[in-house]
Amino acid sequence: MARKVAWGTPGKSTRFLKPRSARTLVLTGLGLGAALGAFYLAVGVTGFRGPIAPGSVTFPHAPVEARCQECHAPRVGASNLRCQRCHDPSGAGRLTHSAHVLFGSRDVKKAAAAPDLACARCHVEHRGRAAQLAQVDQSHCLSCHFPSFASHPEFAVLRTPSRETPGLTFTHERHVQEYVKRGVAAGDTCVKCHEPQNRDLARIEFDRHCASCHAEQGSVGIVEPIPLDDALPAGSPSQGFDLARGQVSKGVVPHRDPWVRGSLARLRHDLDPAGYAAERGTLLAQLSRLRRRLAFANPLAGLDPEGLKQREEVLLSEIKGLGARLSAQAAGLDPQAGLARVAEAQAAASGPEASDLATSVAEQAQSKVAGGAPLTPLEHEARRRELLSALDAIESADPELVSKTEDLRRRVTALVPGETGVEMLTRVRERRETELLRVRDEMDLRRGGAAPPRSAVAAGQQRAIETEILATEARLAELPEAPARALTAEERTRKEESVEILATSCQKCHEIKNAALAPVTAARHVLVRARFVHQPHLLQAECLRCHKGIDTSKDSRDLTLPGIQSCRECHRPQGASQTCQSCHQFHPPELP
């Protein structure tokens, strides 16, 4: 019978069979994993960190790609301090979240309370060389703000329309008509003054845009005779001066005539000493702040270890001083102690006037203790002016006190309505502490062998600060220091008349208040927190489509700005971009 294939297992084995265990395979796998981990560890330790990086860094960061510590701090990750090391070398703090909140809200308290945000949360690196680090995911904005462009609120300038003047008395209608008379097409009149430049519109400048009509012979008018005492020393007749009978007049007055501006400043000093002192004090404080920033803008990278140590000591000393001031303020803020001192003053008051004043102060203090209401902005401004005038007087009386008054002036101008001195000092101390952290971080990096960053960005910031200092100094030069004196009613009337006469030519266009020319803000961008560029919009539509009725406007305060709805006509799905970054920037501009 033929052999058949049998079902089932053929026969029994004569030897013991042990199935192969999977343990070897598992151990091999784990061994391979451990070897791979060790390899990565080894390449990490030896400094060859390409394989361990989660991706290539962008082109600008490529030179530091192999040096992780340039951006990363141990157990911190991508450190803000190390971003600021190159991107904010002067430590202006404009790249922080609180700077963003301050820029958006102008609310110092809100900004101080804003939580820290890591730069790397929005600017995600290691996404390849060509990645755009500045391009931020829209959802970062939406997490705090409104959810889409459709729910973008109306522009603040339209929500609460201010009738703030641009410092000029100006009618668009008149100017448009003048150009039309000269044969310019109505649609082209706008660009005669608002010239396209760098994708936007050029600033209006007197010499370029106004002088051809308003200063045809190089003069905007004349100055009728005014008393010699009310003006700066006159120049020669060839400069247009005419001296007669204790009076001076000027036949040729160019735009921004320094003699007229200086004389007006002098008259303002006499007529409005508080306003003058406040403006001068603000400028001095700003100058002091800018000089301090310039001194500190010498980037940490430019300091040797010894310099860093010195910087650390300076900051430690400042922080200690601020701590002491805070302690003193805290002690002085005890309402009961304050009231007791007021009661003492009341008891010691000799005359009825002094007694009334003390009583009034006591009542005010009591109401503050009871209600705890902060000063209104107007009250705040009045107090600020008083303090700045007082500091001016102190400085005039004793020039040796300049260093003290400078510091006090800085502190007075740093105060904002609604913020107490303690809050301000706390804010400043926090800032100094951040600066100290930067210094210590730089020292750590140096110890780790990191090279100082390039100073190109720092140089740019330094130039910006220097330019600002020069501008502030120029403005300050127009407000010379002089002792204020009380005026009789007669003197006041005469000086007011002199102001009128001096500013006659100016007032054809400029607004003047308390002998001070209002700052000119014509053709300024009114969307201060957005970046609007005219050129791409002018390619789509004529000026009058958005600025409806501007050609017949008779009031320089007219904005004729369309609302957000008009933006949505083009910025819509499948239309122009709707991203936040199209118009807004997170970080405030330089020197906010």
């Binding site: 052999r3 297992t9 199935p19 999977a22 796998g29 994993g33 070897a35 394989p51 989660p54 157990r75």
Partner: protein, 272 residues
């Protein structure tokens, strides 16, 4: 064997729960990334990553746990958990990476190894469902993997004994065409597609030689055919059981590498 039988889950409830978990993970990702800025290093992104890493560690402990499954459930329950948690872990990896391609070598390696480990695991599951059924349905012989070479040797001895009294024609045919095939186990991937594949073609020479032998030798040829068939079944057993055992080479080392890279990933995240 029908496709439905192969893909049908052993425990449909587990598959459904896994599908729900994966959908939940992806939905969470979409909601979170729509509403808030998504980052693998923070918030939900970090939770996805940590959960995925925890699941992978759980998965890697499976070989150590399985033999000691009881009293904590049965071995079947553990393998089910191993399979489905692996799938969920991969889903979490996708969510952790923000459903975008990685940018660096380590990111790519992590994603590819996760993918490879999970896919090789799923292939293994399919093989474990398909091969035993295929062997049982398609073959008559059953053999322990380790014994197959011994059984093949027995068949060779048996066939050698059969042809001792054969004539020249049969002897030459046996020595040249049959014995080389019988002398060693011949593994082939082809058995994966058809467990009885190639049998008719392999028996054709036997049928051809029947015409040239006498009656007595015909019986020997028929026995040789039976032995050859049995040998082919043993080859199929060896091939398919080999695949069943060796697929782990695709799965386990990759999983080990994944663990190593995961450790590097976590350490670098903590440090940097």
């Amino acid at each position: 064997m029908r496709l439905g039988q192969i893909v049908r889950p052993k425990r449909p409830l587990n598959l459904n729960l896994t599908a729900i978990a994966c959908i939940f993970v992806l939905l969470t990702y979409f909601v979170v990334s729509y509403r808030w800025p998504f980052s693998p290093k923070h918030g939900a992104g970090l939770v996805f990553g940590v959960t995925a890493a925890t699941l992978f560690v759980f998965e890697m402990l499976y070989p150590a746990r399985r033999p000691r499954a009881r009293p904590l459930g049965t071995a079947q329950a553990w393998i089910q958990a191993h399979i489905y948690m692996g799938a969920i872990a991969f889903c979490l990896v996708l969510a952790h990476s923000g459903l975008s391609w990685p940018h660096g070598a380590i990111g790519w390696l992590l994603l590819l190894l996760s993918f490879w480990t999970v896919v090789s695991g799923i292939v293994g599951v399919w093989l474990q469902k398909f091969i035993p059924a295929s062997l049982a349905e398609g073959l008559q012989v059953e053999a322990v993997y380790e014994r197959i070479p011994e059984l093949v040797k027995q068949l060779l001895d048996e066939s050698d004994g059969l042809v001792t009294e054969a004539g020249d024609v049969l002897d030459r045919f046996y020595r040249n065409e049959v014995r080389p095939s019988l002398s060693k186990v011949q593994v082939s991937w082809a058995f994966l597609f058809d467990v009885r594949g190639g049998r008719e073609r392999a028996l054709e020479p036997f049928r051809r030689v029947l015409r040239f032998v006498d009656e007595h030798e015909k019986a020997i040829v028929e026995d040789l055919m039976a032995i050859y068939q049995e040998k082919m079944e043993l080859d199929a057993q060896r091939s398919l059981q080999g695949i069943l055992r060796r697929w782990l080479i695709l799965h386990v080392p990759a999983a080990g590498l994944l663990m190593g890279l995961l450790t590097v990933h976590i350490v670098s995240w903590i440090l940097y």
